[in-house]
Symmetry: C2
Amino acid sequence: MSAPLLEQLIEAFRVLPGVGRKTAQRMAYHVLERGRDGGLHLAQVLAEAVERIGHCSQCRDFSETDVCAVCAGTGRDRQQLCVVESPADRLAIETATGYRGLYYVLQGRLSPLDGIGPRELGLDALAARLAGGEVVEMIVATSATVEGEATAHYLAQLARRHGARPSRLAQGLPLGGELEYVDRGTLSHAFGTRGEMPE
Amino acid sequence: MSAPLLEQLIEAFRVLPGVGRKTAQRMAYHVLERGRDGGLHLAQVLAEAVERIGHCSQCRDFSETDVCAVCAGTGRDRQQLCVVESPADRLAIETATGYRGLYYVLQGRLSPLDGIGPRELGLDALAARLAGGEVVEMIVATSATVEGEATAHYLAQLARRHGARPSRLAQGLPLGGELEYVDRGTLSHAFGTRGEMPE
Ligand SMILES: [Zn+2]
Ligand SMILES: [Zn+2]
């Protein structure tokens, strides 16, 4: 005999990030008590999304179609290519900045110990794209972590080899950041790369 | 044209408790990146649960069958009836204590301002059950909130009217504490030292 359906539901919710036993239980009860319509809708959309959402053949971001809306868009500057680690990073840049170029989503970052190399990040396809000659500036927007920096270094070399100019997001104090709460590394870096103040 | 599937998925996740836009987005990305099998499983179990889980006709707890496993169990002391606010509270008591009596799940607490009265909590059915004469002790395990206390007072009167002895979990529950979030030890102790309710 299989476990009760309620028990199965609680366990099933644990596939979601940051959802432990307690939270899963609260979710199951909440849906059954007050959100049955929404729960059924979630079930349907989730099944459809898992089955139908793949990756854009040009930028590797999530897409229902072979080429995503951004890559297919006519109003974008095709000479700028912003390389990010994840779809969430792409969305953050698209939302926060006025950037109108294209993207390339690595779906990870170089991590030899985890078996993630250039091939897993689709860097062969990226190289082929750079070889096409359309990209003038490659904005390397990987994270400011050790692995993100190593990935950025690798990408910059790749860009230069194909005649594209690599650029990197500025690093420093976060906007509104209190000096006393910023981590040592950030503070040290920001201090060391201080610039002259404009008149 | 409807919204992109990914957008629909993010919005659909917001039916879950405590899930805002940011968390919903993280859940969608996580499932698509690393949890497609689990996501599909969740979709299936969720749809089945929403359609098939109803309420036990005897205790009002969630149940796939007309009478739940606890009410149908032969090893339970049918002279004790523990009244709780929610299925989560019932589960907490069942897990933390050695209680082997039966339960009654109000699915709420008296809250006249929200239109929740005795009828909404199924107190007519509870009264009919008490009138049956089988219940000797009614353990009132509503929360230590203002509304929980008011509900407890009402339930105690109902019990006495039908010749059952009302008892209340011992003081020791933190003031304003939701039963569901109390640690096991506190809950177990409070349950074990429950006292008879004063007139
Ligand atoms: Zn694309
Ligand atoms: Zn039952």
